[in-house]
């Protein structure tokens, strides 16, 4: 299996490729829908929503990804790539997104009571593999026998995802100031992560090996 990473000409794609390389997972950058040919699509995320969504649309990735999800292709979004899966983002003056996740991307400072405008740094992370099964996420590639991950992950964002309904599909950011925002979201063949697994050292590698 070769993982397709959407290449919009922005973002830290090579960081993601380096992480996958360490896990012996093959990946390639894809900059057109014609070249997409994998059961897993990765949406990397360093950037601003306006430009990001604009480039997805101009290259036809928006409709392709929506259809791919219906065909059981796994779609994994990281940070901005997670936010673009929601219905709407408040960034860049307000942007209509892909609508694959029942939720909205809000500005942190608009939701938090303690005037938190940005969230940069590391937070504790605990992940139980059984969540994937509970939420209907299928992984045929068993790269690790571990069932739990306990470590820390790296965040760098000013906007975050709030799912519309509370459910066990979403794990909250373990920080009392911003715990209404989602850290990780799983629903069938969609996974979204607000943190950067490709920059979360050992914990990030463990998580990628568990979900890919």
């Amino acid at each position: 299996m070769i993982i397709d990473i959407i290449d919009l000409g922005i973002g830290n794609i090579s960081s993601l490729q380096n992480s996958l390389h360490r896990l012996n997972i093959l990946s390639r950058r894809v900059d057109s829908t014609q070249a997409l040919n994998s059961d897993t699509i990765l949406l990397p995320g360093v950037g601003a929503m306006g430009v990001y969504m604009n480039r997805l649309e101009s290259k036809g990735f928006d409709s392709y990804i929506v259809e791919a999800v219906k065909s059981n292709v796994r779609v994994i979004g990281i940070c901005l790539g997670f936010q673009v899966l929601t219905k709407y983002s408040e960034e860049s003056g307000g942007v209509k997104c892909l609508g694959l996740i029942e939720g909205i991307t809000h500005k942190l400072s608009k939701v938090t009571k303690k005037n938190i405008s940005t969230h940069n740094g590391w937070e504790e992370f605990f992940f139980d593999r059984s969540l994937l099964q509970t939420c209907g996420y299928k992984n045929n590639y068993k790269r690790t026998r571990k069932n739990y991950i306990r470590g820390r992950v790296f965040y760098n964002h000013e906007y975050g995802v709030i799912p519309e309904m509370e459910s066990n599909q979403s794990i909250q950011i373990p920080n009392e100031k911003i715990n209404s925002f989602s850290s990780l979201y799983v629903n069938k063949n969609i996974i979204g992560m607000q943190f950067h697994p490709e920059k979360s050292q050992h914990t990030g590698l463990q998580l990628l090996s568990m979900i890919l």
Binding site: A48, T118, W122, F154, E158, S200, L205
Partner: protein, 232 residues
């Protein structure tokens, strides 16, 4: 509070500097980054040393090094990001954040807006090379190689975080001038302090609630694990 480190990059090699003047070679970029990862650093700021003497071939060589970097620790990159063409060149690098110095000091709003539009506001860091002279803050502008007045309001409005770089005390163990912070009109939660940060200053800065400290010289010269600095 995050514990990070700065790596200065010049002609393909990394250096540590003392007082913004003396340079001590550290070897290749990958080697230095590997060491910092081994010491469990939270983030790394890679800064190219270019003041008013930037040349294109040196820039391209440095960008190639960054592009080939294999690192699982968050990277912020800066040094010579002074025009749109250079911003275009760094779009695909394995970095998460950009560091601007002269552009903030000279209030180059057009360039900063361009960077925000592509990378997002969360990725924009300003670096202020400061020192205290007669109890007044002075700011050194790298592109002009001279002191320059700074507009704190402008810097605060456009930067996600601000690196306060005490250039006089850089390399001086625990020499960071705390009085600089008293005069900086930027929320402490946005401040990254560097330049003479030892364990004592690190604890004082933690009490103030700043975002991060960069303890570069301490980490690399003494081969310390960063766990000693991780208070709280």
């Amino acid at each position: 509070m995050r514990i990070g480190a700065t790596l200065l990059l010049k002609n393909g090699f990394c250096y540590q500097s003392y007082g913004w003047k003396l340079l001590r070679p550290l070897g290749s970029l990958q080697n230095a980054v590997d060491h910092l990862e081994e010491y469990c650093i939270d983030e790394i700021a890679i800064i190219r040393l270019c003041r008013n003497n930037e040349n294109k071939s040196s820039l391209m060589a440095d960008l190639k090094l960054i592009k080939d970097l294999d690192c699982m620790t968050p990277i912020a990159f800066g040094g010579g990001l002074r025009d749109i063409q250079t911003i275009e060149l760094v779009k695909n690098l394995p970095i998460e954040r950009l560091i601007f110095s002269s552009s903030f000091i000279e209030k180059n709003q057009k360039l900063l807006d361009y960077a925000v539009n592509i990378f997002g506001n969360q990725a924009i860091i300003s670096l202020l090379p400061l020192y205290l002279d007669d109890l007044k803050i002075k700011c050194f502008c790298p592109s002009l190689s001279k002191d320059f007045e700074i507009d704190m309001e402008f810097i605060d409005s456009l930067s996600n975080e601000v690196i306060i770089y005490d250039i006089k005390n850089e390399g001086n163990f625990d020499g960071f001038e705390m009085k600089i912070l008293e005069q900086i009109k930027i929320p402490t939660s946005k401040i990254i302090a560097t330049g003479g940060i030892g364990d004592l200053k690190s604890r004082q800065l933690y009490e103030l609630g700043i975002a991060a400290t960069y303890i570069d010289n301490t980490t690399l010269h003494r081969e310390y694990s960063t766990s000693y600095f991780k208070v709280g």
